[in-house]
């Protein structure tokens, strides 16, 4: 009986329309399931930070065409149009086989290097429900130097096995908030053949990078790979800084870097210039995506 009276009083309150609407809203909110797991999206705008990969994946059925350029040194002066006369190119096609598995092929103009990679998403950061604090992606690639110019002595006919190198990376990223994302990249490079005795076949490096969103369509990116083992004096650590500009189907990445290679083996282990010496290269990546199959 007492319960009925309480109910009566409650319904009386509900007759005020405004209160009643909020009452309906609260029913809505009660029915909302906050324990549902929601994944974080858009940790980065592109699959590349500058040179190296991000944890971002291309979903199943999406083909991405990436054309990248790295120009000569800025300090070459106006005669070389600050390096712009001397461009190196990588052209690549990358594809989402599954949402969690991407494959890609590329060709770099220098050394006529063909590369192929596999990228697998192990974990994806979530923001509600079952908590996963980071996104984790495993990356591996193989590169073949097909041109004679890839070696110091172009007259020597190098064996196929000497032309191969491999890269292994773990990419761990966290979207700290909607603007800031950070990434760590433990990396190992194996080269079947090195030019000098000082160069190790295996190079271990630890990469750090991140992006900060300046506006919805513009981010500032930075990337640094620190080599952990002894290496020859000719090679330096790679540092790059750049902007991502997103315009619908395209992402334009414009950057400055001391690395000219656009594949892991090259920029992690064989960066030949230093920022302090003015060995700074302007470069860009332009990506365009194509949807090869409809979702659903």
């Amino acid at each position: 009986m007492l319960k009925n009276i309480t109910l009566l009083c409650f319904s009386l309150l509900c007759t005020l329309p405004l209160v009643a609407q909020d009452d309906l809203m609260s029913i809505l909110e009660d029915s909302n399931d906050d324990s549902e797991t929601r994944e974080v999206t858009a940790t980065f705008k592109s699959t590349r930070l500058v040179n190296g990969h991000t944890t971002e994946m291309r979903p199943s059925g999406v083909l991405e065409f990436i054309i990248s350029h790295r120009f000569g040194r800025l300090n070459e002066g106006v005669g070389q149009l600050f390096g712009l006369d001397d461009s190196q190119v990588r052209i690549a096609l990358e594809y989402g086989i599954w949402d969690k598995l991407n494959v890609g092929f590329g060709r770099s103009s220098v050394g006529k290097i063909l590369d192929g990679f596999l990228k697998y998403q192990v974990l994806r950061q979530t923001k509600s429900g079952k908590m996963v604090p980071i996104s984790l992606t495993a990356f591996t690639s193989v590169a073949v130097a097909t041109g004679p110019g890839a070696f110091l002595e172009s007259s020597i006919d190098n064996k196929f096995s000497q032309r191969l190198s491999y890269s292994y990376q773990l990419l761990a990223a966290r979207k700290m908030n909607s603007n800031l994302s950070l990434q760590v990249m433990p990396t190992m490079i194996h080269r079947n053949y090195v030019f000098t005795a000082e160069d190790p076949n295996d190079v271990f490096a630890l990469g750090f990078g991140g992006r900060y969103k300046l506006t919805n369509r513009l981010t500032l990116n930075a990337e640094y790979y620190h080599q952990l083992a002894e290496h020859s004096d000719e090679y330096y650590n790679s540092f790059s800084i750049g902007f991502d500009i997103e315009t619908g189907g395209h992402v334009f990445q414009l950057h400055l870097t001391n690395s000219r290679s656009m594949i892991e083996k090259g920029f992690v282990a064989e960066t030949s210039g230093r920022w302090s010496d003015g060995a700074i290269h302007y470069g860009f990546n332009i990506s365009r995506v194509f949807n090869l199959k409809a979702k659903k």
Partner: protein
């Protein structure tokens, strides 16, 4: 005295409940532009309707709009609707001249639509179909993006219409406390 009598007469309805909650939902937005037609569908929206007084609310999780192109979905969330900041879109309103009877009727709903953190007074038109334990609602209306401060840059490659068409459909079952 008369008023309180009406209120008393209404008690049974309120106590036993004339509230219905949505079982299935379908919200589609459609933008038609010269270069590209864009469509997205959301099937996780929730709604409550009170047949006693014609009050009607719904809430949509912006992230749950599914696009054909995943990149477009990302941009929709990141750049246009900013779903990090404004995760939900809501409507609360009341059917004009509501008559609680069985069968299908065309109705007008006056209320407040909130998108992208901006609330606007709107009048939606649609139909409601009432049966003993099932209620259906359907409405199609247009939303002017500018009204809700959704910015479209001039330089985007796929054109987005300034007005999008929104279709809302809900099927309801009685609400049990």
């Amino acid at each position: 005295m008369k008023q309180s009598l009406i209120i008393i007469l209404l008690f049974p309805f309120l106590v036993f409940g004339q509230k219905f909650t949505s079982e299935t939902s379908y919200i589609r937005f459609y933008s038609s532009a010269p270069i590209e037609d864009i469509e997205a569908i959301n099937e996780t929206a929730k709604s409550v309707i009170d047949l006693e007084n014609g009050q009607f609310v719904f809430a949509v999780q912006i992230e749950d709009f599914q696009f054909d192109k995943s990149l477009m979905q990302e941009h929709f969330n990141e750049n246009y609707l900013e779903s990090d900041k404004y995760p939900k879109s809501t409507f609360k309103g009341k059917i004009v001249d509501w008559e609680n009877k069985e069968g299908k009727q065309e109705v007008e709903v006056k209320g407040e639509l909130s998108i992208h953190g901006v609330s606007k007074k709107v009048t939606l038109t649609g139909s409601i179909d009432v049966a003993a334990s099932l209620v259906k609602i359907e409405s199609v209306f247009t939303v002017k993006l500018e009204d809700y401060k959704v910015k479209i840059p001039k330089a985007v490659f796929y054109n987005i219409a300034e007005e999008v068409e929104v279709t809302v459909k809900f099927d309801y079952k009685p609400y049990l406390n």
